[in-house]
Structures are given as structure tokens and as C-alpha cells.
């Protein structure tokens, strides 16, 4: 009989091994996927799997990105800031209208029921499908590239705000009521805060959607500046390096907007998940 004492040694736990061997490497894990993608890209670009005319190497693309970004003539940074400005403006319009209207909608069951179908329907309709319709009314004016994304963002924001208010848990509202709080007190001190996490979900989705629609609108509707327009045009004239550089920039923009938003959300909705 083997009567050896069983002691849980670190080597029995695979997680323990990992943390013992490479404690610092965990921090680098998020980069692993990026490295793998870049390697594939490099191999694909240099091994003639893909026509090199259609796919420059990563290094060439990033070099191009640096060059075109600050080129005085037709510089990428102008397109970048135009798209950023349109996205922020349309998001702001969507939020300024969507949050208060959503809260009003959610505070009144009857009002919500009357608009529920409409909101749900338009929310489920891809906003890009509405571009031609908006074109009819607004022409190819620069407003279009703000109004359409604002509309798309507005729909998710109003929906989530209404939903947040309607589904607020009752326990804290009851607590406030028994303490003698008025309807207005309850609304501004409890109900609003209770629905804030859901409102933020709407805002975060809203800004992503706004960016998507800004890019699509810039591709469809004639414009002087904008990342969407640049991606489309560089593709048309087969300036692929510039096209990839523009696509990368768009990705970076979306990612940064998301990160900034998460940061702000964490500061404001500090109690979420605790």
C-alpha cells in the first residue's frame, strides 16, 4: 500500500505552473493574437498566395500609414478628424434626444406600449437601408452624414433608456417611498440611477452604430473628406496601401472610442457589478 502523504504541490495545478513559469508573460497574452495575425499577413503577402498588388506587407502598410497621415496634401488626418467629428456630433444628437425621450417613454407604461412596436421595428431595420430615403429628403448635403447616423444611434439609445427605466428593480424605489420621498425625488434620486447602467449600454452601442453609419454614408454619399470616402476611393484607383492604412485607422478609431467610453462608464456607474 502506498501511504505517501498527498500534498497539493504547485505542479499538480496547471494554472499554478503557468503562473510560476511565466508570471510576466500573462500580461503579454493579449498581444499574442495580434502577432499571429501579423505573421499570417506577412506570410500571405510575401509568399505569393495572394497577389502582392492586392496585399502589401504589414510593414509597408504601417509605413504608408505614417506617411499619408501627415502628408500636407490629402493627408489622412483630415479624413480622420472629419469622421471623428461626424461620429461625435451624430452620437451627441442621438444621446441628447434619446436619453430624455427614452426615460419619459419608460416612465409611462401606456406611452411605451404605444411606441414599442415602432421603435422595435426601426431598431431592427438596418439603418443603412434608410440611406436612400434620407437622400431623397436631404440631398447629398453634408447634413446627411450626420443625420442618418444620429437617427441610428438615437434608436438604440431611446430603446435602452426606456428599457432601463421600465425594468428598474422595485426594491430601492419602495425603500425611497417608505422614507417619504416624493415622485420627483424617487425619479431623480433612484429611478434615474437605477436605469443608468442600461442607459450606458445604449450609449455605448449608439456610438458604435453611429461610427458604422458615418463610414457607410461617406462611402455612398459624395463628400470631400472622411475615412469612408477615402477607403472607397483608394480602392477604386487600386491604391491598396493607402486603402489598408485607412481601414486600420478606422479600426483604431472605433477601438479608441470604445475604450474611452468604457472608461467613462466605469467612472460614472462605479457600483455596477458590485
Amino acid at each position: 500500500m502506498n501511504q505517501k502523504k498527498r500534498q497539493p504541490s504547485p505542479s499538480q495545478n496547471p494554472l499554478a505552473i503557468a503562473s510560476k513559469w511565466v508570471p510576466w508573460a500573462d500580461k503579454l497574452l493579449p498581444l499574442l493574437g495580434v502577432v499571429i495575425l501579423l505573421s499570417f499577413w506577412e506570410i500571405a503577402a510575401t509568399s505569393n498566395w495572394v497577389n502582392p498588388v492586392l496585399l502589401p506587407t504589414p510593414v509597408a502598410t504601417i509605413a504608408e500609414l505614417v506617411i499619408v497621415t501627415f502628408r500636407p496634401e490629402n493627408g489622412l488626418f483630415l479624413d480622420f478628424f472629419t469622421t471623428l467629428w461626424r461620429t461625435l456630433l451624430s452620437f451627441a444628437i442621438g444621446a441628447i434626444l434619446g436619453v430624455p425621450l427614452g426615460i419619459i417613454l419608460g416612465s409611462n407604461e401606456r406611452v411605451y406600449r404605444s411606441f414599442e412596436f415602432l421603435i422595435d421595428f426601426f431598431r431592427s431595420t438596418p439603418a443603412s437601408a434608410l440611406i436612400p430615403m434620407f437622400l431623397l429628403f436631404l440631398g447629398t448635403s453634408d447634413w446627411n452624414k450626420v443625420v442618418i447616423p444620429a437617427f441610428a444611434g438615437f434608436l438604440v439609445i431611446i430603446f435602452n433608456s426606456a428599457y432601463g427605466v421600465m425594468n428598474a428593480r422595485q426594491s430601492r424605489i419602495l425603500a425611497a417611498r417608505v422614507m417619504g420621498a416624493s415622485h420627483w425625488d424617487i425619479f431623480k434620486d433612484v429611478l434615474f440611477w437605477e436605469s443608468l447602467p442600461q442607459i450606458f449600454i445604449g450609449l455605448r452601442t449608439g456610438i458604435s452604430i453611429s461610427l458604422v453609419i458615418v463610414i457607410v454614408a461617406e462611402m455612398f454619399i459624395g463628400t470631400d473628406l472622411g475615412l469612408g470616402k477615402r477607403i472607397f476611393e483608394t480602392q477604386q484607383i487600386l491604391n491598396v496601401k493607402d486603402m489598408y492604412a485607412s481601414i486600420l485607422t478606422t479600426g483604431v478609431l472605433g477601438y479608441c472610442l470604445n475604450m474611452i467610453f468604457r472608461f467613462v462608464e466605469k467612472q460614472i456607474v462605479h457600483w455596477s457589478g458590485r
Binding site: 419602495l174 425603500a175 417608505v178 440611477w193 457600483w271
Partner: protein
């Protein structure tokens, strides 16, 4: 030694309450004395929470009348401590703003709110950093914050729905002591629901034993050991006898 001398402070008459056709209370009468601690004990689902929710005006009644200090409910000052502090404290406000909230909605100025809360903390020798948010405190501390919030505006009655059920043993003892202290300081009329007979008897002047539904009062048991009660109280013959008596009645009731 039944204290019939104290007049009815909380008065429930002809109370009816059903949920979806299921009768919970039918012609239910109850009077509770002023300045005492009443523990409510009874089988699961017999309507203990529902009873104190109706007495505090949180949920409507179907029929009947409830008065506190001869006033209808909406004009009486109620303090209420919920079963789950997590769901009823406001995590977006600091602990101070939580405790002072009842004063704020009454329109008390900020400076006076601070004075009142400081005074409250001093009375019960509580040292907590109230600038922190509720979720940054332990469970027991959060329940303590909830209790302070319930008593800060000088209520006429304090209701507590199973205030220990989310706490560990040590914290239960601590909060139990604080509740005793609150009562000794203010002589506040207190109605506490507990599913633990020891806690129920320990805190009470009177234990209200309820039946299975449709719910009626089986017995009001008096327990008159003087305060402060201590951990030794639970082995006092009077305590043991009272607890045993309540348990007997509870068992009988469950057998029916």
C-alpha cells in the same frame, strides 16, 4: 403580567388581504403597544413580510384599517429595514448620503443633516468612514447603515424584515446588540420579523406567534427580562422557558 395597560399604538382592524384569490388575511385584528419590541414569528410563507409591509404602507390592503398613533398610515413616520441591504441601499450615494436621505427628502439643510448623522453615530459608538460607498463595507456594516437610515428621521415605528438573514453569526450578534442599543436609547416601537427563535426572543418584549394561512395570531407571548440583555441571557431560565413555550406552540400549529 400581560401589559394591557399600554394602549394600542399600532391598531389593525378587519384587515383582509389576498394574492390572486389566495386568502392570506381575513378579518385580521391586531394591536401592538407603544415603546416595545415585538418579534413576529411564524411558519414560512404565512405572511410575516406581507403584514409588516401593509403596516408600513408599502403594499396596499384589500380591506380594513391600520393606524399608527391614531393616525392613518400615510401621515405616520415609518422606518423600515429590508431583508436585503444590497438591494435597498443606494450604491450611487455615499454611506452618508444614504443615511441622511430621509432627512434630505424632508427638506433638512445639509448642515443639520451632518449634525444629526454625527449625533446618531456618537450615540451608538459607530466609527465608519461614511464618505465611502455602501458596497465598500462588509455585509454587517451595510445592514448597520440601513438601520441608521431607518432611524435617522426619528420614526414613530421601526419595522425590520429578517434583518439578520443575510449576515453571518458574528455580525448577527453585533447587529442584535446595536438594535438593543437603539431601542434602549430611544424607546422606539419596533416590529421585527425573524425566522430565528433565539433572535426573536432575545430582542422582544412580546413575541407574536402567527399561524399557517389564512393567518391569525396564535398567541402573544410576553418576555420581560430587563435590558440590557447579554449573551448570558440565552441561558437564563426565563429565556429558555419562553423560547421552549414558543417552540411548542409553533410545533402544535405546524401539526394542524
Amino acid at each position: 403580567m400581560i401589559s394591557t395597560a399600554t394602549s394600542a399604538f399600532i391598531n389593525v382592524q378587519g384587515l383582509c388581504k389576498s394574492f390572486g384569490g389566495q386568502v392570506l388575511y381575513q378579518d385580521f385584528d391586531l394591536t401592538l403597544p407603544e415603546g416595545k419590541v415585538i418579534s413576529v414569528f411564524g411558519p414560512n410563507g404565512c405572511g410575516k413580510s406581507t403584514l409588516i409591509n401593509m403596516m408600513s404602507g408599502l403594499i396596499p390592503i384589500d380591506q380594513g384599517q391600520i393606524t399608527v398613533a391614531d393616525k392613518p398610515l400615510r401621515r405616520s413616520r415609518i422606518g423600515y429595514v429590508f431583508q436585503n441591504y444590497r438591494d435597498t441601499l443606494f450604491p450611487w450615494m455615499s454611506a452618508f448620503d444614504n443615511i441622511a436621505y430621509p432627512l434630505k427628502v424632508k427638506g433638512m439643510a445639509e448642515k443639520n443633516r451632518h449634525q444629526r448623522v454625527d449625533q446618531l453615530l456618537a450615540t451608538f459608538d459607530i466609527t465608519l468612514d461614511l464618505r465611502r460607498y455602501p458596497y465598500q463595507f462588509s455585509g454587517g456594516q451595510q445592514q448597520l447603515i440601513a438601520i441608521l437610515r431607518a432611524v435617522v428621521a426619528d420614526p414613530e415605528v421601526l419595522f425590520l424584515d429578517e434583518p439578520f438573514s443575510a449576515l453571518d453569526f458574528e455580525m448577527t450578534l453585533y447587529i442584535r446588540e446595536k438594535l438593543q442599543q437603539v431601542h434602549m436609547e430611544s424607546n422606539l416601537t419596533t416590529v421585527v420579523v425573524s425566522h430565528d427563535l433565539e433572535d426573536a426572543v432575545y430582542l422582544a418584549d412580546q413575541i407574536l406567534l402567527l399561524s399557517k394561512r389564512p393567518t391569525h395570531v396564535v398567541e402573544k407571548v410576553q418576555f420581560e427580562l430587563p435590558r440590557p440583555r447579554t449573551p448570558d441571557t440565552v441561558s437564563h431560565p426565563e429565556f429558555v422557558r419562553t423560547k421552549g413555550h414558543c417552540l411548542d406552540i409553533f410545533r402544535q400549529e405546524m401539526r394542524q
